[in-house]
């Protein structure tokens, strides 16, 4: 009969965890009001650079979850033709309109102030996911959250093909610099 009692307790526990989970839904979230993403690639003929200010991100400071969505078509290149090739031939943005990162800030204690943090999660670009840990700087006060990071992305990790016949060589790795500024987010 001991077992039955334990099962009863466990059932209650299940219910409590379930309710707690629901409560987590009301945890404090921060949403970007400013974002700046730049990618840069060294190429022998010409450097390739683009800037995107349309990315959005949400950080849940209670659960430490972070989500970033980057609309690919909003990358702005200096050369329009390069932008066209980027969308049409490399990122295929009609089929894969967004790049996303879903992860957790794994070594952040949630306290106010500046900290070096890592986010571990899944980066999806060009429809291909890759587990990644990104390190960056975080600056947190009660109503402002700032995150900045620099990391590299390998094109082959996301099956972005570089044809052999192109006349300018493209680097296999691009450097991404991202800055996000968040404000408290209220559910509507």
């Amino acid at each position: 009969m001991m077992e039955l009692r334990i099962i009863k307790i466990m059932k209650k526990l299940l219910l409590i965890i379930f309710l707690l989970n629901c409560l987590f839904g009301f945890s404090q979230k921060f949403k970007t009001n400013n974002s700046h993403i730049r990618f840069f690639s060294d190429a022998p003929m010409e450097d390739i650079e683009a800037i995107n200010e349309s990315a959005t991100s949400i950080v849940d400071v209670t659960s430490k979850a972070i989500v970033i969505v980057v609309p690919i078509k909003s990358f702005d290149f200096k050369k329009e033709l390069m932008q066209e090739h980027f969308n049409e031939n490399y990122l295929e943005s009609d089929d894969f309109p967004n790049a996303t990162f879903k992860g957790k800030l794994i070594d952040w204690n949630g306290e106010e102030g500046t900290a070096q943090v890592s986010a571990k999660g899944t980066m999806e670009i060009h429809g291909v996911s890759k587990e990644m840990t990104i390190t960056g700087d975080l600056d947190y006060s009660s109503n402002v959250l700032k995150v900045s990071t620099v990391f590299n992305i390998k094109l082959e990790d996301h099956k972005i093909k570089i044809p052999k016949a192109v006349f300018y060589k493209i680097a296999e790795e691009v450097e991404v610099t991202a800055n996000f500024e968040y404000a408290p987010y209220e559910k509507n």
């Binding site: 077992e3 049409e88 192109v166």
Partner: protein, 289 residues
């Protein structure tokens, strides 16, 4: 299975589900579309030409395009003419983007030594607000070849086109090109000086870099029996900075007056010419660094 194990596995599942659920919830919060995105259609055609005729595409501000067009002889002309390759006509052209929408260009063709100049303006872009892109095109051509009796203003022709295209999806684009051409001198009294034509063009992308294109320019005004409507079928190959257009067509000229109004070979009788356009773009704006 032991009930304890079962319950702990259920617990684990719920826990992991809740983590996934939160990410999903966060993603949904972000799923509202980018308000800055106007949804402009880009690359309706790969080149500023469908094949012989202009496409709605314009080169962006500060971009210079060098375009080389070649048309060989008839492939049914036999071995003596090396299946057409012994004969060729060429047009060399330079086009420049004054703004993203306004382009100007000049060219010279070996056939009848025609020089041409044009202005092209894209005044509507396909976007969330507009189902089509519309570009206006107008050109002047002048035959500079020495023909007895052909003098002065008789050498000139003026063309105007409204290019209307829609990119239906990432693969398929279609263009309508109503055209009027004023020829100051025509070959026979049966030919109207004012030529009317309705061009049709389409592209279907086979892969990121390769597309099939076709173009047909039926003439609607009166024309003498020697003239045929121009038809062309080809493939576009894009390699980043270059576009190669390889095609078969019954036209040997590469300006509107020539290929729409003066084509004499019949595609359907096998009078087909192999041809190609090669473009190279240069960015003339200084690097900001």
């Amino acid at each position: 299975m032991h009930p304890m194990k079962r319950i702990s596995s259920i617990l684990l599942t719920i826990l992991s589900l809740s983590v996934v659920g939160q990410d999903q919830e966060l993603l949904e919060l972000l799923s509202s579309s980018d308000p800055n995105d106007k949804g402009y259609a880009s690359a309706t055609f790969k080149s500023t030409r469908v094949i012989n005729g202009h496409s709605i595409e314009t080169r962006s501000n500060g971009t210079l395009e060098f375009i080389i067009g070649h048309r060989f002889g008839r492939i049914n002309s036999g071995y003596d003419e090396f299946y057409g390759l012994d004969f060729s006509t060429i047009r060399l052209g330079l086009e420049y983007g004054i703004t993203d929408n306004l382009n100007i260009g000049i060219g010279r063709a070996s056939f009848d030594k025609v020089v041409d100049a044009f202005v092209k303006y894209r005044f509507l872009r396909q976007s969330k607000k507009s189902p089509v892109t519309i570009t206006g095109f107008t050109s002047i051509t002048r035959k500079t070849v020495d023909i007895p009796g052909l003098d002065g203003i008789d050498r000139n022709a003026y063309a105007a086109q409204l290019l209307i295209a829609r990119k239906f999806n990432s693969s398929f684009s279609f263009q309508l090109s109503p055209t009027i051409i004023q020829r100051n001198l025509v070959e026979t009294p049966q030919d109207d000086n004012l030529l009317l034509a309705l061009g049709l063009g389409a592209r279907y992308k086979l892969s990121n870099r390769i597309a099939i294109v076709t173009e047909y320019y039926p003439v609607l005004s009166n024309k003498s029996a020697q003239f045929e409507d121009s038809f062309a079928l080809g493939i576009d190959i894009e390699t980043g900075g270059h576009v190669f257009q390889l095609h078969f067509t019954n036209a040997v000229q590469m300006n509107e007056r020539g290929f729409i109004g003066e084509t004499t070979d019949s595609f359907w009788d096998g009078d087909i010419h192999y041809g190609f356009n090669i473009t190279r773009v240069f960015d003339l704006r200084p690097n900001k660094s």
